[in-house]
C-alpha cells in the first residue's frame, strides 16, 4: 500500500540502502498509512510488543541467576528474591509481566472479535495471532514450572498428563515428555530450555504478524476499507506512535501497581512451598489466564473428551474467519452480533470464575452450561447470524461519518462528538 519509491537523502544512506534496503523498511514503517479513526482498543498491539520485550529482557537476566535443577531451582529463586541486586524487582516484573501479557492479549483478541478484524483479507494475520497465543500459553505454563514449588510441580503433572488421554500412545508420549516416570529433574531442564526458546519463536511470528498486517493495512472501528488514503489515513509516525505511547504509559501504571503493591496477588501461596511428589495441594488451580479452558476441561466427565473439548475451544478460533459468515466486519453495524458478542464476553468470564472454583455442585452445572454456550456461539450462532441478521447501512468511507455524510445520520453525529 505504501510501497512508494524511497531514496535516502545522504550519499552514505543511499550506498547502504542499495545493498540492504533497511532504510526503505524504516521509511515504510514511519509513513505506514493508518486509518485515522483508530480508537484506543487499537493500541494493544504496541503494548503487546512492549510486554514481549519486557519478558525477554527480564527473563534473560533471571536466567543468569536461576539454576534449572530439581534440588536447586526452588532455592535459586529464593536466592534471586533475597540476595541478587534488584532480583526481587526483576522477578516480580517477569512474573507479573506474564499476567500483563495475557491481559493485553485478551483485550487484543476481543477487539478483533468486536470489530471483525479476523475477516477477509486478514485471515492469515488472525491465524498467526492464534499460533502466538498458543505459544504464549506454552511459555507461561513452562515458566510457571521453573520455581519448582508445589503448584509448579502439580501443575506440570496435571498438564503433561493431558497427553495420556491420547489413545494407545498416550502413556508413551507422557513418559517421553517427562524423561522419566514422573515429573522430575529431566522434565525441569527441558522445560527451562523450551521456556527460553519460545519467546524467540514468538518474536519471529510477531514479525510475520506485522508483515501480514502491513499488506492490507489496519482494520478500523467502522470496518470498511480505506477508500482514499490521502483522506482516510494518517501516517503511523507521529500520530499512532504518540497515541500508542500514551496508552502504553497508562498500561504501565497498571503494570507497576501489581509489581510494587500486589506482586503475589495473581499467584498462589502454595508455590512458595517446595515441590513435594508425595503431597498434592488440596486445590490445584492454574494461573488466571488459563482458567476458562480449565473450566471447559473439567466440565466434561470423560478424560479424552475433556481434553478434546479444551483444545477445540482454542483451535476453533483459528476457523473463525470461515465460521462467521457475515461480510460486515464491525459490530457497530451488526445490532444482533453486538449483543451476542457481549454474551460471549460474559460467558468467558463466567468460565474463568468457575474454573477457579471446585468442580462440584452448582459450579459444575454452570461450567457445563457455559461450555455448551461457548461452542454454540462459534458453531451455530455465528454461521446463522451472518445469513439472517439485518445490518445497519455502512458509511461510504472512513471520513464520511466524521464529516456528517453518512447515510446513517445518528451514527455520524455520535462519531462526530466522539472524535472531536
Amino acid at each position: 500500500m505504501s510501497d512508494h519509491e524511497y531514496t535516502p537523502k545522504s550519499k552514505a544512506g543511499k550506498w547502504f540502502n542499495d545493498r540492504l534496503p533497511l532504510l526503505t523498511l524504516a521509511n515504510h514503517l514511519t509513513d505506514y498509512p493508518t486509518p485515522k479513526n483508530l480508537n484506543y482498543w487499537w493500541t494493544f498491539g504496541g503494548i503487546l510488543t512492549f510486554c514481549l520485550i519486557t519478558q525477554i529482557v527480564t527473563g534473560l537476566v533471571l536466567a543468569m541467576h536461576y539454576i534449572a535443577h530439581a534440588d536447586m531451582a526452588f532455592e535459586s529463586v529464593e536466592h534471586i528474591m533475597r540476595d541478587v541486586n534488584y532480583g526481587w524487582l526483576i522477578r516480580y516484573i517477569h512474573a507479573n509481566g506474564a499476567s500483563m501479557f495475557f491481559l493485553a492479549v485478551y483485550i487484543h483478541i476481543f477487539r478483533s472479535l468486536f470489530y471483525g478484524s479476523y475477516k477477509s483479507p486478514r485471515e492469515i494475520i488472525w491465524i498467526i495471532g492464534i499460533i502466538i497465543y498458543l505459544l504464549m500459553m506454552a511459555a507461561a505454563f513452562m515458566g510457571y514450572v521453573l520455581p519448582w514449588g508445589q503448584m509448579s510441580f502439580w501443575g506440570a503433572t496435571v498438564i503433561t498428563n493431558l497427553f495420556s488421554a491420547i489413545p494407545f500412545v498416550g502413556e508413551g508420549v507422557v513418559t517421553w515428555l517427562w524423561g522419566g516416570y514422573s515429573v522430575d529433574n529431566p522434565t525441569l531442564t527441558r522445560f527451562f530450555t523450551l521456556h527460553y526458546l519460545i519467546p524467540f519463536l514468538i518474536l519471529g511470528l510477531v514479525v510475520l504478524h506485522i508483515w501480514a498486517l502491513h499488506v492490507p493495512g489496519n482494520n478500523n472501528p467502522v470496518g470498511i476499507d480505506v477508500k482514499k488514503p490521502s483522506k482516510d489515513t494518517v501516517p503511523f509516525h507521529p500520530y499512532i506512535v504518540i497515541k500508542d505511547g500514551f496508552a502504553l504509559l497508562m498500561f504501565m501504571i497498571v503494570f507497576a501497581f501489581f509489581v510494587f503493591y500486589a506482586p503475589n496477588i495473581l499467584g498462589h501461596a502454595d508455590n512458595y512451598i517446595e515441590a513435594n511428589p508425595l503431597v498434592t495441594p488440596a486445590h490445584i488451580v492454574p494461573e488466571w489466564y488459563l482458567l476458562p479452558f480449565y473450566a471447559i476441561l473439567r466440565s466434561v466427565p470423560d478424560k479424552l473428551l475433556g481434553v478434546v473439548a479444551m483444545l477445540s475451544a482454542i483451535l476453533i478460533l483459528a476457523a473463525l474467519p470461515w465460521l462467521d459468515t457475515s461480510k460486515i466486519r464491525s459490530a457497530v453495524f451488526r445490532p444482533l452480533y453486538k449483543q451476542f458478542y457481549w454474551i460471549l464476553v460474559a460467558d468467558v468470564l463466567i468460565l474463568g470464575y468457575v474454573g477457579a472454583m471446585p468442580a462440584e455442585g452448582l459450579y459444575l452445572l454452570v461450567a457445563r452450561v457455559a461450555t455448551a454456550y461457548y461452542f454454540l456461539h462459534f458453531l451455530v450462532i455465528l454461521p446463522v447470524l451472518g445469513l439472517k441478521e439485518r445490518t445497519i447501512p455502512l458509511p461510504l468511507s472512513i471520513t464520511e461519518p466524521v464529516l456528517g455524510g453518512s447515510p446513517n445520520m445518528a451514527m455520524a453525529k455520535k462519531k462526530e462528538s466522539k472524535i472531536e
Binding site: 502439580w154 496435571v158 493431558l162 529431566p186 527441558r190 508425595l278 470423560d302
Partner: protein
C-alpha cells in the same frame, strides 16, 4: 505424470527423495529419543519397603520411580466391602482378588489415572481414596467408582521378600 512414460531422470528424483527421507529420519530419531528416560532413571527400577510397623487400617506412602506408592494394610471390613462389589457396578472391572493377592495388603501407585494427582486416604463416597484435583472417587480396592478418571489405580509389580518387606518393581 501418468500419461508420461517414466524416464531415467524420474527414477533418479524418486531415489533421491527416498534416500533423503530415510537420512532425515535417521538424524531426527536420536534428537527425539534423547528425551526418553535415560539409563540413570531406568536404573532406579526397584525399591524395598519395611512394612512391619503398619497396623490394620493404616497406609504408608513410599516413593518409587518418582511416584508415590500406597501400601495399605486393610481391615477385614474393607476387604469384605471390596470383595462384595458386583463387576457390573465398576467403571473399570477388576476383581479385588486380582488386585490384592494377599487380601490384607493393597499395594498400588498413588496416582490418579485422570491427570496424575495424589488421591487422599480414607476419603470420598466409597471410603477409599478421593482425588482433590478433579473429584475422582476410589473404593477400598483403589478402583475408580465415580469421577473423570478412566481406570483403577495401577497395581505395580511387587513381591514380599519376607514377611515384613515388600519389594516394588
Amino acid at each position: 505424470m501418468s500419461d508420461k512414460k517414466p524416464e531415467r531422470r524420474d527414477f533418479l528424483f524418486t531415489a533421491t527423495y527416498a534416500v533423503g527421507a530415510v537420512g532425515a529420519a535417521a538424524v531426527v530419531w536420536p534428537l527425539v529419543d534423547q528425551m526418553n528416560p535415560d539409563a540413570s532413571v531406568k536404573a532406579l527400577a526397584s525399591t524395598e519397603v519395611d512394612v512391619s510397623s503398619l497396623k490394620p487400617g493404616n497406609t504408608i506412602t513410599v516413593l518409587w520411580r518418582g511416584k508415590p506408592v500406597f501400601i495399605r494394610r486393610r481391615t477385614q471390613e474393607e476387604i469384605d466391602v471390596a470383595r462384595s462389589v458386583k463387576m457390573e457396578d465398576l467403571i473399570h472391572p477388576e476383581k479385588d482378588e486380582d488386585r490384592a493377592k494377599n487380601p490384607e495388603w493393597l499395594v498400588m501407585l498413588g496416582v490418579c489415572t485422570h491427570l496424575g494427582c495424589v488421591p487422599l486416604n480414607d476419603k470420598g463416597d466409597y471410603d477409599g481414596w478421593f482425588c482433590p484435583c478433579h473429584g475422582s472417587h476410589y473404593d477400598t480396592s483403589g478402583r475408580i467408582r465415580k469421577g473423570p478418571a478412566p481406570w483403577n489405580m495401577e497395581v505395580p509389580k511387587y513381591e514380599f521378600v519376607n514377611a515384613n518387606t515388600i519389594k516394588i518393581g
